[in-house]
Symmetry: C2
Subunit: 122 residues, 2 copies
DNA sequence: CAAGAAACGAGAATCGATTATCATCTCTCC
DNA sequence: GGAGAGATGATAATCGATTCTCGTTTCTTG
């Protein structure tokens, strides 16, 4: 087991993911590498401080993290495996929903359903 | 202080709200009525079982509850006061975001910004 | 009014997520 | 090779949210 390189192992796993991962989710993907949960949290915290990572809250799964260089996008949450996938593209017409006097600075869209793998299995 | 009527006090407060409320938020609106936090949780739990309430997760504020008779709608989350407001209307074009093989069963939209009151104060 | 059932409030207990602690290990720079 | 700094893993501690427990109170029914 290498030391002092564990955090980069964490970052690599996050970069290879197809969506934001929670600390636990990330940790379970690192089983076998000997990386401890505390190190995962330390890496995530550092990444956010550095500005290389971003914490996002999708739904029901607590906070998840993903690289900050993925641009504006949204997520698809599989209700079976509870994994969040990145989506590309956005939606129009959000402004029409805003009540008078409110100022919008951002938006989040989450699509729910079953992913490819879970749909096949069903 | 009346007893055995506390739960209806909880339901009334929730019906009068302009958006979903968390247990704490609801409880703080009932300060002065003598209603305990446990009773708020009991009422919420019962309401969800009855089907009269629905639990929703907006963002960052944990679970919130609202009456189930409000139809399909979304929410606006004020980043200053952290209160969630009901919005009316919906958006189009969500289907185009779904990857091949995925099946969509629902969606959530949250607009972020500052509400009327907090915008005025700023 | 009396008895039993259900609801109540306060605070203890629990639960999951995150953070802090600490002894050990590894890397860097002599 | 050695010293010091920083990183690491295991685990304890913390924190907030929610649920549970218990003695008390209120409601219902007669």
């Amino acid at each position: 087991m290498q030391r002092a390189k564990q955090q980069s192992t964490v970052f690599r796993a996050l970069n290879e993911a197809d969506g934001p991962l929670s600390a636990r989710e990330l940790w379970s993907r690192l089983s076998g590498t000997g990386v401890g949960l505390a190190t995962v949290y330390r890496a995530l915290q550092r990444g956010v401080e550095d500005g290389t990572l971003e914490s996002v809250e999708v739904l029901g799964g607590g906070v998840r993290y993903e690289p900050k260089n993925r641009g504006h996008h949204h997520h698809f949450l599989c209700s079976t495996c509870d994994h969040a996938f990145d989506l590309f593209g956005c939606v129009e017409g959000l402004e029409s929903l805003i009540p008078a006097g409110f100022r919008m600075t951002g938006h989040e869209v989450v699509l729910l359903g079953t992913c490819d793998a879970c749909g096949d299995a069903a």
